[in-house]
Subunit: 286 residues, 2 copies
């Protein structure tokens, strides 16, 4: 793994919840985006002023910078809301992500009726993000959705990635999250944690049903490099209709599919060929 990625990953993991670093002006502008939440999607400039403790001129300048970039757009009643650029950028990611491009045809070949739903989750240093979710069983209830993020410790798609982290990252993660790790039953000490992770690596998948009690989620790791996890594949099936044997088959299926994706992804690497066309996968470790 290149130096750049490791540095970034280490920082992302260790910096967790430290916050409050010195901010550039651009950083302050970008912080305005944090205000726009699901509960509070529309803000007037006056509201932004009082929230930021800024003057009118400053608040308008911030909003204007974001508006000019298309990240905000004027809404009804003199409010601003998240802008069109976000949807456009998301489309760009969907269309240019090598992982999605590679995985799609391979997954579409795997039409087993056992698969009630499937999702691809991607690793972003301190969190795991669902980047694609497909539902086949109309009765299944899913908590995953593109753009939803999960902590590295929560849920099968996250945990299988956690298990394959390089040693120093895993160590960092343990020291800043030992309480949660212990609570989740992954080990009360660093040694225990390391052992349980090694065990998970040995079997090569993770079965979970904690985030959603009605389904099994079976996750297998996806590598963009011989030794670097970048994502995970998850097959989902309702518990009530799943026999032990079917669960076994589901596990085999997800591991096989993830392996095929990994193979293609690794060969997609810049080793040979035009690196501007076949650029290294944007899947990342940081």
């Amino acid at each position: 793994m290149p130096a750049a990625l490791m540095a970034a990953a280490d920082k992302a993991i260790s910096m967790e919840k430290s916050g409050e670093k010195k901010q550039s002006s651009a950083g302050k502008v970008l912080n305005v985006l944090d205000l726009f939440t699901e509960e509070n999607p529309a803000w007037t400039v006056e509201m932004i002023m009082s929230e930021l403790g800024a003057t009118r001129a400053t608040a308008y300048r911030y909003v204007k910078a974001l508006y000019d970039a298309g990240l905000l757009a004027p809404g009804a009643a003199s409010t601003y809301v998240l802008g069109p650029r976000i949807m456009q950028l998301d489309r760009q990611i969907r269309r240019s992500d090598p992982l999605l491009k590679i995985a799609q045809p391979l997954l579409d070949e795997d039409q087993s009726p056992l698969i009630g739903a499937r999702s691809i989750s991607s690793f972003y240093g301190d969190q795991v993000l669902a980047i694609q979710v497909d539902r086949f069983d109309p009765e299944i209830f899913l908590t995953m959705e593109r753009g939803r993020s999960f902590p590295l410790i929560y849920g099968a798609p996250s945990r299988i990635i956690l298990a394959y982290l390089p040693p120093y990252q895993m160590r960092n993660f343990y020291s800043s999250n030992s309480a949660e790790i212990s609570k989740a039953g992954l080990g009360k000490t660093w040694e225990e944690f390391r052992t349980s992770m090694r065990k998970m690596r040995r079997i090569g998948y993770c079965v979970g049903n904690e985030s959603n009690r009605t389904v099994y989620g079976v996750s297998a790791p996806i590598f963009h490099d011989k030794s670097s996890v970048s994502a995970s594949l998850t097959y989902v099936r309702r518990i009530e209709i799943t026999s032990d044997q079917e669960l076994e088959e589901l596990i085999k299926a997800v591991v096989r599919a993830a392996n095929r994706i990994s193979e293609k992804l690794i060969n997609y690497s810049p080793a040979d060929g035009d690196s501007s066309l076949v650029f290294p996968t944007p899947r990342l470790a940081g």
Copy 2:
């Protein structure tokens, strides 16, 4: 329509392609996002340096600001790619947009087999953006997709919005786009253009098949206010399987559905009730 919106809409429309206004520092940082295109999704800092003509220190500062905001993320081989925050923000929009929330159940009631696909497009001042696309006919070929934008003059979803623009906006649009308007056959003079738009308003829908020769797209306007268009609904059907009578029915269906959405959207307005809960629709005119 509030003053804020008009000002923004006028500017967006008249400013088209003028570009090159003085940029704030935050604006310069946000410009970096423009580099990340579908053809060129991964950039090293060195590449950004030479593209921007900035020094190493500056380029790193820009990238760091965007990285801290989650808009960029480190990719493989020391590149940066668009970050997880974009997917998260897109999810937030999907979950908080009143138009989507209102339209979804109403559209799901409308299960006519005539509808091969449908899409909702939203007006953003100088462009029209597809915000939701559903395909029912598996053989249909669609150019629309969430996040894809179209100029105001191109395609049925755009044109029906164009037709309902307030007079001064339409006037602005004509004076900066008279050549394209004439080429598109919408009128060689302002008078002709105004007449053809009035005619379209009178019939209340727009049928087009220019962007995709294999299908009809039938679009009807959606209003967030008695007189303000904010979006359009489009029903799509393959031409080869569509009789004249079916086209008529499709038109009636899309107009009916769009009207129902408009009604609900208008009543959703802040007129009564808690405006923090039932905030005015973020659909916008600018």
